[in-house]
């Protein structure tokens, strides 16, 4: 852009910049709130770790049964010849079993019925396929792996997991709001004693 054109546009840049920044933040809030407003609640069993983020503070890392899946233990239609890469999108089918939802299938396209989560591949250790089905271990991420809380809460969640060693009836549960298209948002994390 030459100097003359830039000088013509210059007076508009400040208001555009302010509107643009506010638009980004508003967009973030709208997308973040959508599952909380439109979604249904599902309960997922979790495990935790308690690290710290430079910008967002203390948080608990939530790991679920599907965070690392053995593909020969779950129904799937993954391509047996493909090694899935970081960021590839898949769909994790969920079904209620007792008080909690469990993963029952991993698909390349959204299931026609039932609840499902949009997930992304973090890592895929592919091995020789078994019975025409993809095999190996696949790590998945659903966007509900971090629960931000103050230090005391984050550490309490972590200590609950440690307590499970002596009391396996302790369950740490994530209450997740899930939309029809698989978008999820954590509503709360708590614990129960079965």
């Amino acid at each position: 852009m030459n100097t003359t054109k830039f000088l013509q546009w210059r007076p508009y840049i400040i208001p555009i910049a302010i509107v643009f920044q506010c638009g980004i933040l508003a967009g973030m809030v709208v997308l973040a709130m959508r599952p909380l407003v439109e979604g249904r609640e599902v309960r997922l069993l979790v495990e935790t770790r308690d690290p710290r983020d430079l910008f967002r503070g203390d948080y608990a890392v939530l790991r679920y049964e599907f965070s690392s899946l053995r593909l020969d233990s779950i129904a799937n239609d993954l391509d047996t010849a493909t090694t899935y890469r970081f960021g590839d999108e898949l769909f994790l089918e969920l079904r209620q079993q007792g008080n909690y939802y469990r993963a029952v299938g991993l698909w390349r396209t959204p299931p026609q019925r039932g609840e499902f989560l949009q997930v992304r591949v973090e890592n895929h250790d592919r091995i020789a396929p078994t019975q025409h089905r993809a095999a190996g271990v696949i790590s998945l991420r659903a966007g509900i792996e971090e629960y931000f809380a103050n230090t005391a809460v984050a550490q309490r969640l972590d200590s609950l997991i440690s307590a499970r060693g002596t009391n396996p009836n302790i369950r740490v549960v994530a209450y997740v709001m899930l939309t029809d298209d698989g978008a999820a948002r954590i509503k709360d994390v708590s614990y129960t004693v079965d």
Binding site: I13, I14, F55, R56, F86, E146, F148, R185
Partner: protein
């Protein structure tokens, strides 16, 4: 050029002297005062106070981040959001106020704070809603949000913020082996802003970001090639040296020279690295490089042959060529058993390069070039002493030769210098 003279106290004094010595009339001086706003307060870069205020705002921004990080999850959502939104809106209001009053330096500081707080708000929203998305995306949105203010002001302050954010953004992608197509677009924008407005610190950060960009691209697009690193890094360095004259209009000769010497020094370090037999043996095991590595080399060579041949460019080519040649031996599957011979060749080439500087310095009567050659000889000697510690006899011969060489060139330099002085004196007397 015009921006540099705006409200400059030195230019104002200079014009005063021109009027006193009759170079220009008072009416012409007044025209210059109006054109360059010389009756107004000096711009920010002439005032250390501006820098201190900017640093104070950075600390305030960091304080806000720490406050957010405490995570006030017992407070209502609106109150938590307000901890970020209120400072943001206040900074906009202050910025717009000073902008309309045409107090540009205070407006610039206010909008700089806006950009900092905007980033804080992104992470605050992530915290409130437990957003666990791909982490670098938050930084990407921060850069995009801060970009319009940087485009408007084209100042060191805003450009520095963008460069720091860009560096962090690319760095967070590298461990994941990811490469974003926004990366070249953003880097091109940052380099365009650098080309427009200059700034020594911005130049240095831009060079760092060029390195991280290419390394991220090499890893993300072609999978990790750890052994590519020496050649890739050297190629990027050579490219930066060749490209440096493009931004010459903003920097003095001294600054350009220092940056070029710094880059050239890094290139020499890699060349010195190849004089070790173990390093050469490792290099000969690399049988391929990525297309990106070859592309950077081609671009650097193209740029070199296209432009006026700057001295530092020629010196850098003289270093890069053997460096690249040795890497090519690996591509040609030269037997690793010959690594000793290749290392000897590298030592001879390095010594030859140093000798070239010594002789060139003597011929051109440039002491700095002469001394740099001497330094390189000494460096090579010390490195070889450390490397071949077992072989005392060989090293004693090497040191004797170096000693003789230095003695000889010292004598030659003094003799040449005194001859010149005598000729000059005779000429004056005549």
């Amino acid at each position: 050029m015009e921006n540099f003279l705006q409200r400059s106290p030195r230019f104002r004094r200079e014009i005063g002297e021109w009027v006193q010595t009759g170079i220009i009339t008072p009416e012409q001086a007044q025209l210059l005062h109006e054109r360059y706003q010389l009756d107004r307060e000096a711009p920010w870069y002439a005032q250390s106070g501006f820098v201190l205020k900017a640093v104070a705002l950075v600390l305030a921004g960091m304080a806000l981040f720490l406050f957010i990080a405490e995570n006030w999850d017992s407070f209502p959502l609106a109150a938590r959001a307000a901890t970020g939104i209120v400072p943001l809106l206040c900074s906009y209001a202050v910025g717009v106020y000073y902008h309309t009053k045409r107090v540009s330096d205070k407006a610039e500081l206010a909008f700089f704070f806006s950009s900092l707080v905007f980033g804080g708000n992104i992470f605050l929203q992530a915290q409130i809603f437990h957003i666990s998305a791909y982490y670098p995306n938050g930084l990407l949105w921060w850069i995009l949000g801060a970009l319009p203010f940087a485009v408007y002001y084209r100042s060191t302050l805003h450009n520095l913020l963008l460069h720091v954010l860009y560096f962090i953004w690319v760095s967070t992608q590298m461990p994941l082996g990811q490469f974003s197509w926004m990366s070249p677009i953003l880097l091109a924008t940052l380099l365009y802003l650098l080309w427009q407005s200059g700034g020594t610190l911005v130049l240095l950060l831009a060079i760092v970001n060029i390195y991280v960009f290419f390394m991220n691209a090499n890893d993300g697009l072609f999978a990790a090639h750890v052994l590519d690193f020496p050649l890739l890094f050297s190629a990027i360095t050579f490219l930066c040296i060749v490209a440096l004259p493009l931004v010459h209009k903003h920097y003095s000769k001294a600054v350009q020279q220092r940056v070029a010497v710094l880059l050239h020094g890094m290139l020499l370090a890699f060349f010195l690295f190849l004089t070790f037999k173990d390093a050469t043996a490792e290099i000969l095991t690399i049988h391929s490089f990525t297309p990106l590595t070859y592309g950077i080399i081609a671009a650097a060579l193209f740029g070199f042959f296209l432009q006026k041949k700057e001295a530092m460019g020629i010196y850098s080519l003289a270093v890069f060529a053997p460096l690249f040649g040795i890497h090519l031996l690996g591509v040609l599957h030269v037997d690793k058993a010959l690594s000793g011979l290749v290392a000897v060749m590298a030592n001879i080439l390095f010594f030859g390069y140093a000798l070239w500087h010594i002789i060139g310095g003597l011929q051109e009567r440039v002491k700095s070039r002469f001394m740099s050659g001497v330094f390189l000889v000494l460096l090579l000697a010390i490195v070889r002493y450390m490397d071949y510690f077992e072989s005392y006899v060989m090293m004693s011969i090497v040191f004797l030769l170096c000693s003789g060489l230095l003695w000889g060139v010292h004598t030659w330099w003094n003799k040449t210098a005194s001859t010149l002085q005598t000729e000059a004196t005779d000429g004056v007397q005549a």
